[in-house]
């Protein structure tokens, strides 16, 4: 086989690498929590509040009651869809902490002012540091955190009536 012919195998080799990757990817569920963080405390943080950037909040705001930790951003279209449902949850008395993830703080403030605030507290994670510690894959993501500040469940994608009823609510109820 001559040298020029060997070059023609390059696309095949590249594809083989890609296929291996896909094979690996299939066994990984992007919605699955990296096991490392499940049943571990929420990583320590100290971040400014969206409502008043001079003040900071840390992981202790997640202690004392069962909370949802919701990662959102104004650039995230699904968050927009999720938002009304979070408002409903808040009305039902669910304690929700928002993480404004890699976002323009100003747009986030406008967003909240305009669409209403489903969160009991919002911290600003502008450079995505907390997101990195949490292993955020993309917004929106929602973590169920128990009374001791330990992560019990992670949901990727929007929380809606269906996912709430089927996946998240059972976890929340079991922790109450």
């Amino acid at each position: 086989m001559n040298k020029a012919r060997l070059l023609l195998f390059i696309p095949l080799v590249l594809f083989a690498v890609l296929a291996l990757l896909f094979w690996r990817g299939l066994s990984l569920d992007p919605n699955n929590m990296p096991s490392a963080l499940l049943d571990k405390p929420v990583p320590a943080f100290s971040l400014p509040r969206l409502e008043n950037l001079q003040e900071t909040r840390d992981e202790n705001i997640l202690k004392g009651k069962v909370s949802l930790l919701n990662v959102w951003a104004t650039w995230c279209e699904t968050c927009y869809i999720e938002h009304p449902f979070l408002l409903q949850l808040k009305a039902q008395g669910i304690h929700i902490v928002g993480v404004d993830y890699k976002d323009k703080t100003e747009s986030a403030q406008q967003w909240i002012a305009k669409y209403g605030n489903p969160y009991n507290e919002i911290v600003v994670d502008e450079d995505g540091r907390l997101g990195l510690d949490l292993g955020v894959f993309g917004a929106p993501e929602t973590y169920v955190v128990d009374k001791n500040g330990v992560i019990r469940y992670k949901h990727i994608g929007d929380v809606n009536q269906k996912t709430w009823n089927e996946k998240i609510k059972p976890v929340v109820d079991s922790l109450q």
Partner: protein, 666 residues
């Protein structure tokens, strides 16, 4: 009964597609003309039974047959009739069936329109298409049967079509997109058939070129429709999000564009043969990859409805066979003989080569961005998402460069163009564009001079004026302008329209991004707000009852510089079956600006959060895409494709060596 008929028809279609794969390919291998001839009738049969299955599913939707699981989860008795019919492709199973219907349609078209092809070529092409069909039909029959019944206890009513999809844009978006995706299978089949037969000449390129062009035209419309739909349906004014699924449809388009240009070179000059074959394989592979990414749940995305890893495994195996198989065949059979036909540094070939390089680099950056989260996950680097900044960072400069070079291509001769000639032709367009570009931002919005807008206008008018210069040059020897224009070939016009479309889209994208203004505010009845000379007054808010939703509807009057302009009625709908909230945007559409009003949330008594946009030139984005598609459809009508059996091999036309003496660019 009808769903069972549909299921039966699908199984028959599967059997026929197996025959369609085996018989004609065997016939072509052994030179048995009876077997080769069977391809055409089998293709007709394959199409017929898929169409029957599709009709059966449509019937089940039309008659609210909620015993069928798929119908129950995607329709509702209150759903308007039109949406019941289009809900057929509202979920995974149905959209897969639509995919197969498109494939069978293209196969039928090949069977009907390729009578002039050599019999063995025709048989091989149909055989390859049949093979693709076997994979997809197995997929639908085994893992995603749309006709599964939910007995003995069917639900009383369906859970409704996703409200996001209850929209006219959605009725036509998937069919066009799939027409494009699947259309590339024909070009792929031609490439594989040529490799199998070991006959890779210009005739091959000539045969597959109209198919590739047609598919590309459909895909352009499909992508534009998707963007348009997102613009007015998602309610926040964006029109492109670099979402994995958008990228999945965009990558075949990018490589398909490269393929069109490479095919032209292969047809006209017999160059880049192996490369063109590879692009044909790539384009279809990316279409399949798109399906895989959307259907397997391997990436999270707003589009990823109804995914399931088991299906992912199936598509991956299918992908391995089709792509792996065709690349192996390519590696073993593609010609390695170096073309004897050379070309000069300044020639149309060079510009087409640049076009191909830039487009492929673009595709690779998009692919990397799309797959990076997956790579990072697979290699244990954590879960990461890649956002628009990454894509824009690479995409914008690459496209800018491509468009700058684009102006040269049509003017350059094949083989060799003296640089002086190009210079002579182009200094005027260059200067005119420069002046236009520098003046535009100053006239359009004097208060903030935007250099980005100047750049965009420059590139857009550079493409346009260079084309004009070319037309004028071509007409230089004609007695009358009209006579000269008539002499230009249809494919020349097609090229010009498509290139103009690029300029229009480019200007639309840039100016919209730069000049759009939006205001989010709280509005009460009788309250007014000013934005860019437009005044919006909220007149009233009332409750409206729709067929399957209830809505709050605002009535807003718009005046421009004091003159009444339009009444707008944005809505906030609540779809009762799923309890989903949807924003129904009100639009005042114009060629130079859109006015866009969306309702947010109620804030207190009688007051609502409203989002008001003025979006200049946003229509140009889709107008340009339609022009590209129109160009594609026009070029297919060119008379040279109707020359029956024009199997001219490595046709090389005499090429002018001196500028200004008989350019033979077609």
């Amino acid at each position: 009964m009808v769903p069972e008929l549909g299921q039966f028809a699908l199984i028959l279609a599967l059997c026929l597609s197996v025959a369609l794969t085996v018989l004609p390919l065997l016939g072509a291998h052994y030179g048995n003309s009876l077997l080769m001839h069977s391809g055409r009738s089998l293709a007709v049969g394959f199409f017929t039974f898929v169409a029957i299955a599709f009709a059966c599913l449509t019937y089940a939707f039309a008659h609210d047959d909620f015993t069928v699981t798929y119908v129950a989860s995607n329709s509702n008795s209150l759903l308007p009739y039109m949406y019941k019919l289009t809900a057929v492709w509202g979920g995974h199973e149905g959209s897969l069936l639509l995919w197969i219907l498109m494939l069978s349609g293209w196969t039928l078209a090949v069977a009907v329109f390729s009578r002039s092809l050599p019999l063995d070529m025709q048989a091989r092409v149909l055989g390859v298409l049949g093979f693709i069909a076997v994979g997809l039909l197995l997929f639908i029959v085994i893992t995603s049967n749309p006709f599964d019944r939910n007995l003995p206890l069917p639900p009383q009513d369906g859970s409704d079509l996703n409200p996001l999809l209850q929209d006219p844009g959605f009725i036509i978006h998937p069919p066009f997109l799939y027409m494009g995706y699947v259309g590339f299978s024909v070009c792929f089949a031609f490439a594989i058939a040529a490799l199998l037969a070991g006959r890779l000449d210009s005739a091959w390129a000539r045969w597959s070129r109209p198919w590739a062009t047609l598919a590309w035209g459909f895909l352009s419309v499909g992508i534009a429709l998707g963007s348009w739909w997102a613009y007015y349906e998602l309610g926040w004014g964006g029109w492109w999000f670099w979402d994995p699924v958008e990228n999945a449809s965009f990558m075949p388009w990018i490589v398909g564009t490269a393929l069109l240009h490479s095919l032209a070179t292969t047809e006209k000059r017999g160059l880049f043969k192996s490369w063109t074959i590879l692009l044909a394989i790539f384009t279809f592979s990316l279409s399949l990859l798109g399906t895989f990414l959307v259907r397997s749940g391997i990436l999270t995305s707003v589009h990823a409805f109804a995914n399931d890893p088991e299906r992912g495994v199936f598509i991956l195996v299918f992908l391995l066979i089709i792509v792996g198989g065709s690349l192996t065949l390519y590696a073993l059979r593609a010609p390695v003989v170096k073309s004897e036909i050379g070309f000069n540094w300044f020639s149309r070939e060079t510009f087409l080569l640049f076009n191909n390089i830039i487009l492929n680099v673009t595709m690779v950056t998009v692919l990397l961005g799309t797959l990076y989260p997956l790579v990072a996950d697979a290699l244990g680097w954590g879960k990461i998402s890649v956002g628009p900044p990454y894509f824009n960072f690479f995409f914008l400069p690459l496209m800018g460069l491509l468009c700058l070079l684009m102006a040269f291509g049509p003017l350059a001769n094949w083989k060799r163009t003296p640089a002086k000639h190009l210079l002579l032709m182009l200094w005027k367009p260059w200067s005119i564009s420069l002046v236009l570009a520098l003046l535009f931002p100053w006239f359009y919005r004097p208060e903030t001079y935007s250099f980005a807008a100047a750049t965009a206008v420059f590139i857009g008018s550079w493409i346009t004026t260079a084309l004009l210069a070319d037309v004028i040059y071509r007409l230089r020897n004609s007695a009358s302008v009209l006579g000269g224009l008539q002499k230009l070939s249809l494919s020349y016009y097609a090229m010009a329209v498509a290139h103009l479309g690029i300029a229009v889209t480019l200007i639309g994208v840039s100016l919209t991004s730069i000049y759009s203004v939006e205001r989010d505010l709280r509005m009460e009845e009788q309250q007014s707000v000013e934005l860019m000379g437009y005044s919006f007054t909220m007149q009233s808010i009332k409750k409206v009852q729709g067929p399957n939703y209830v809505a709050d509807e605002a009535f807003i009057t718009v005046t421009h510089n004091g003159k009444p302009l339009d009444d707008m009625h944005p809505q906030k709908r609540r779809y009762t079956a799923r309890g989903m909230m949807m924003t129904e945007v009100a639009l005042d559409v114009g060629l130079f600006r859109d006015i866009y009003v969306a309702m947010g949330e109620p804030v207190g008594e009688k007051a609502w959060a409203m989002r008001v946009h003025v979006k200049p030139f946003v229509r140009w984005i889709w107008l340009g895409a339609l022009m590209m598609a129109f160009g594609a459809f026009l070029s297919v009508l060119d008379k040279r494709y109707r020359r029956v059996g024009a199997a001219v091999s490595s046709e090389v036309k005499p090429v002018a060596t001196v500028a200004g003496k008989g350019l033979v660019n077609e």
